[in-house]
């Protein structure tokens, strides 16, 4: 495993200049994600229109992996229909825990820069937290945690 490859330019760039960082004036859905093990906290707000994510923003203090993951997540899901978003959430989670065959067809695109995270079990949660929080927001859970068990995203991530 080469951790350096994980800290690639693209991730470092998103960490330095996070996209869609801030709040939304009007949000139809909103959730706060929390990783109690490292104290990280992430706010995800979005506007759903006609089952499409019309707008999305995030905010919070976190490590580079988490911030870049959140930033790239927002660019990836913005404008997408809900069903596509659910697929991305699922695929990202599977990639993070090393269960996605990257050779087979998938929809992650540039999000595969996070594939190296599977070799760092303690950091998997950092990469997943934004997706986990997005999932919670879409399911109208207003606060969540990487330790919350009833969430299907975490339920598996916790085993990583």
């Amino acid at each position: 495993m080469n951790t350096k490859s994980l800290y690639q330019e693209v991730i470092l760039d998103h960490n330095r200049k996070p996209r869609n960082y801030g709040t939304l004036n009007e949000a139809s859905h909103h959730a706060v994600g929390h990783n109690p093990l490292c104290g990280d906290r992430l706010d995800v707000a979005l506007n759903l229109e006609n089952d499409h994510i019309d707008d999305i923003a995030f905010q919070g203090e976190s490590c580079a992996i988490c911030k870049a993951s959140a930033s790239m997540m927002t660019t990836a899901v913005k404008g997408k229909p809900l069903t596509d978003v659910e697929t991305l959430i699922q695929e990202f989670r599977e990639m993070a825990i090393g269960k996605l065959d990257l050779e087979s067809p998938h929809h992650l695109g540039r999000l595969t820069v996070f594939s190296g995270i599977r070799d760092l079990p303690t950091r998997v949660k950092c990469a997943i937290l934004p997706w986990h929080t997005l999932h919670a927001a879409l399911n109208s859970v207003t606060t969540t945690s990487t330790e919350a068990r009833n969430d299907p995203v975490h339920a598996t991530a916790g085993k990583a």
Binding site: P36, C38, P121, T122, E147, R149, K159
Partner: protein, 419 residues
Amino acid sequence: MKIIDTSIQPRKIQTNSMEKFRADFPILKLKINDKPLIYLDSAASSQMPQVVIDRLVHYQTAQHANINRAVYYLSEIATSEYEGARHKLQKFINAREDREVIFTSGTTDSINLVMHGYGRKFIKAGDEIILTTLEHHSNIVPWQMLAEETGAKIRIVPINDKGELLIDAYEKLFNKRTKFVGLIHVSNALGTINPIKQMIAFAHLHHVPVLIDGAQAAPHIKVDVQDLDCDFYAFSAHKLCGPTGVGMLYGKAAQLEAMQPFKGGGDMIASVTFEKTTYNVIPHKFEAGTPPIAAAIGFGAAIDYLSTIGMDKIHLYELDLLNYATELINDIPGVHIVGNAINKTAVLSFVVDGIHPHDIGTLLNQEGIAVRTGHHCAQPVMQRFNIPATSRASFAFYNNKLEVDALIAGIRKVQKVFL
């Protein structure tokens, strides 16, 4: 006392396929007083196979760090090995999920966890707790402490002369004040295997949760907590070829979630301020502080070892030893087996006319034979049979018939001394 550690080749008296496992236990090659060690005290603590010893050494030389939260390699590997051990236990007892398995420091710790976590939260003055005459002190004293604190009452299931629970009497004890049942699966003093599945089902008819003390069952018979439908199940690693200092508590997730924590400290919390502390999810809520990491991993290795042999095979082999030994002991005049239940594990408690168990223990030791003498932390059983103590030979799959023969010869020799 001289100890000569030479590899003695056990004579092959039987072609039983279990015989080969005996060689896995380095301590069984010891000599005591120039005689081969004959270890018949596995009910108190079992011995450890080389593969578990090696696992512990490997952990200390290549994997040790504190678990949880750290992002460096050793901590990650230690965490995943520790959680891996939990998973092995989950499989071993067929729990629904890993989080239903809590690492404790042993059976006693497990039972105290339930007393503090469940009992002190849900049991009140006037409530009744059902225990049995067969219980080990570890499943009596915590409930007495709780009864004293809360004003709850303890009701006792009696036994017959064979050492079997009186199921009718058990069922009659239930009433609307009954709030908890603590039940030993296999008696450490007598070997009785109790019909716990039926007893649990009856308690559940009255919506009463049941804790099973499985310290003497898990090492000898297959345990399936879903099939038993018990609410809690406890046992210790050191009776299953694992290390001292670790044990487990199985609890149904819903029960564990409803309980209050037992010990406060690191890792059992989600966040701490002096104003407000929130607890972590199970199993972590019950694992405060640095757990016995090495011992838990050793526990997992021991479970792997036993699973490779197969619990069913172990049970059958030990039953054969029990029957063989029972017959031979019954042949000795003046020797009486205490505990003659129809369903037994390979535990033989006995008394010898005119000879105190301590003298028997000391004189058998002279022959290299290790048996336990005393009340076996089960004084109510002793009181029931009106004896202060017994001598107890308990067998594991690494014992053989040659050793039974040696025990019989040893008892006869002790009798001669006192003629």
